[in-house]
Subunit: 195 residues, 4 copies
């Protein structure tokens, strides 16, 4: 039970970290602010995280697992491959639309790969995993003549860059779904639909 309570607090601090690091960047997000946001005392942060860097790493890694899970998931198998891809895109981008500012942290890590080497490698490894995961779907589309012949790896890479670009550039809140719908429609173009 003591453990239960601890985990709760750790989680609160982590969520506060994710929020403030995302919104303000590493340096501007102070431990004091994070502890206030989490509703714990200043010192308690250090009970759960060795130091600021450790908290930051956790703040990046934890949502990353979610993000990975979403991006590696796909819509159900169906005959209409175009529909299947479009649904997959919707699955992916809906998540990003809700993700708020998290993408900015990923960006931060990429920008300072020396400092956060482990995190960076983790992100890098994921890119490959993502390519592999998307390849069968893309190939299926190409084989059925729905998509033009493009290197599936390149499609995956550009599609991922696009998602990030949209997330980083767009400042809309989740509510403004209309524009997100548009972004989803256009994402499909990167798969090279025959039209």
């Amino acid at each position: 039970m003591a453990i239960q309570k601890s985990e709760e607090k750790r989680e609160k601090i982590l969520q506060a970290g994710i929020k403030l690091f995302s919104e303000n960047g590493y340096s501007k997000a102070t431990i004091k602010d994070i502890s206030k946001e989490a509703g714990v005392s200043f010192g308690t942060v250090f009970t759960y995280f060795e130091n600021k860097d450790t908290l930051f790493e956790a703040s990046v890694l934890e949502p990353l697992e979610d993000m990975k899970a979403v991006l590696l998931s796909q819509a159900e198998e169906q005959d209409d491959v175009a529909a299947q891809i479009k649904e997959t895109i919707k699955l992916h981008m809906t998540y990003f639309a809700q993700q708020g500012t998290y993408a900015r942290m990923v960006q931060y890590v990429i920008g300072q790969r020396d400092r956060f080497a482990d995190l960076f490698n983790e992100l890098n490894d994921f890119t490959e995993e993502f390519q592999e995961s998307l390849e069968p779907l893309i190939r299926k589309g190409q084989e059925q003549g729905v998509l033009i012949e493009l290197d599936p790896n390149n499609v995956a890479i550009t599609y991922l860059a696009y998602i990030n670009g949209v997330r980083l550039t767009t400042i809309d809140d989740i509510d403004q779904l209309p524009s997100w719908n548009m972004f989803m429609d256009h994402a499909y173009l990167l798969f090279g639909p025959k039209q």
Copy 2:
């Protein structure tokens, strides 16, 4: 002549600011480091820029003008509209490929629009300008039956997001042009080519 000399120094400091802010972010780039990079003394920075924020704003704005000029420029008018668009994309993305880390500063401003309200508005205004600038070309492509019918504004927005996504996600140096060539080819897909 005194003015001439001053301007030189101001420029050196600005370039140092652009470099270090881009590479390290706002907080980690210290005035001392910037002055060292610029080859001037510590106090001199404050002779040319009121404070750190002012220097940062200038460091974002100055390259922004270049970036704007490039993104608003287009390849020469020609009969083959597809070729014209592709050349325009090359024009745009070659610049970004060479820009190194500058895009990260833009990102930083977008992420803190409250703090850098003026800069943010400047960026926002540009988006509209960019849409207007690209519209004729897109419309031309659609009229000639080379592109499918899409809202030109949306094409411009998604294309811009894509460019940013590529720049922010990709860590390649300028040298590794192969991948940038690929990114250029795929960018064209966002214009909705009939194929």
Copy 3:
């Protein structure tokens, strides 16, 4: 039986305190380190000692009693007073040779007599006791014409300073007895042997 067990724990903590305070000084020896060294939990330290200062005082006092006992003890009465003194010196200094870093704590207390007033007075009182204890032996040596006429109090004081100086300056381990033998031989000089 409960009490028995408690006393055991108290002793473990005390020994850990003596060890770590001696080796690292007051500030650098943390309660956490001491608890770990003692093999008890962090909070348990406060069950047996009100606070850090209390533990420190105990850590100084407890070995002090041993030290006192040793320094107040003397070699067996014998006709050859020179031999008796030399054996007494050996008794004293062998103890110090084995004491490791404890002397440093005494030093620490002397250096901060305001802070540890009680301890300091305790130490001061001992000096007088030591003088009294040594006086008969010294006087006996002088009466037998083995020692020159010196104020026995001064002999005791300088001898005590010498022992401390050797202990504080020397970094040898107990093993390196050779040098300690030398130190013992020379200690006798302070008693003013006729030669």
Copy 4:
């Protein structure tokens, strides 16, 4: 002139460091206290010393040079070797009597030789130098039949330990010269006078 002023301030800080480190030990002497004692602001300390450790090292080394100079100096050559030695002792111990608490810092360094390796080695080297410096005088005394035959190195070592012991144990202020006179007289015993 600017340099002149700087050096003055550096010196003030250093003197404050020597005073407070000696009196309170490393950890209890805070930068804030030291800056206050020196009459400068908190930040100014870091203008002249990289960090607390650096200031501490300087606070040990600077007086060490004085101390070395004194301990390596000797009374003028004269026919009466006993008088010469006694005067040399007076030279040495008068300095220590005035030195206040400095010896405690030396003690601190010896106690933590791993942490302050360079300082420790410096101290260690000095011991040898001291032995060499004292050897001729001791040998002269032995040759003239004033001193008994003892290893000069051992005499030097024990004499040094004695001085330190007196300084560390004695809490008298400089004023109380009487006791220091006694300590000087007894120091001579360590040289092994024939009597």
